[in-house]
Symmetry: C2
């Protein structure tokens, strides 16, 4: 495990997130993970902050609200394509995504949410603010295209309390 500066990997993580997806993982009985393709990594309140978006109908939604924390695990060496599709199309209400589906939940360092062992880059986050997207001011084209049923995402602003690589090769490339 090699600690990284989030600034050095935010380009990599956002690229992966937007093109292939990454795992958003929350604690529970059992823990659950879902694939996300949208989000922000930035800096606010003198803290690095990951903003994740979760729709209320997702199984993850109740879990993340209850937990107050989440992790984001990013594939590095291993692309995990099938696993990202599985985590993005199946619901944790119906299956345990961490049993028999090629991904493993292992404990994180700083938060209760586990990380996905098969990924090489991880962000551990403590929720410091959350609330629904602002439908009143949203661009009409976005509203029509993304929210025809008005199921706006809730935004979860998570202080990044740990950022590290478990992929040795990746760590060597991105460590300072």
């Amino acid at each position: 495990m090699k600690e990284l500066n989030y600034l050095d990997v935010l380009g990599y993580a956002t690229d992966k997130m937007s093109h292939a997806g990454v795992f958003l993982t929350v604690p529970g009985e059992p823990a659950n993970t879902m694939t996300i393709g949208w989000g922000w990594i930035g800096y606010c309140w003198k803290k690095p902050v990951f903003v994740a978006a979760v729709r209320p109908q997702r199984h993850t939604y109740e879990l993340i609200k209850k937990a107050g924390c989440f992790t984001v695990s990013v594939p590095t060496g291993n692309e995990l394509k099938a696993e990202l599709i599985m985590a993005g199309t199946k619901s944790g209400r119906d299956i345990n995504k961490f049993e028999g589906h090629g991904i493993t939940a292992v404990p994180a360092q700083q938060v209760d949410a586990p990380i996905v062992k098969e990924c090489g880059l991880h962000f551990e986050c403590r929720t410091v603010m959350n609330g629904f997207m602002m439908g009143d001011t949203m661009d009409q084209e976005i509203k029509d295209r993304c929210y025809p049923q008005n199921d706006l995402h809730e935004l979860f602003f998570g202080e990044i309390v740990a950022c590290y690589a478990t992929d040795e090769e990746f760590a060597q490339k991105y460590a300072r």
Copy 2:
């Protein structure tokens, strides 16, 4: 002027923003700019999106609400330290920051907001959603430290409609 992929410069821009500040510029009579140190660059609604935070007492606030667009200009070769301090401590209500203060407003490519000519990297944004931070769910430590007067930031989500360098050397380093 060299177009860039926002993914290739978001680490650079967030680093600069969080450590030294960048210019958030809005149109008006005259146009105004302010120094920001907080914000997010990410991907949502199948668009690259810059999230800027502006407090309601700022002169920029009314201008950005009215304009529906903004630009973010990032110093590259030139550090512009004095100019960032000026833009972060003076108010556009009292002075024209673009006259006699070392920075120049020049037209952007895609939006009405100008860019800061002396900077080498620019993001042009069209506001697609805005709304205040969520005070009800905000972490108490953050609330006490950042908002003792409850003057929560409003978040402006701007679709990045253009991202480019006007600094030739910077462009060569970050272009694909």
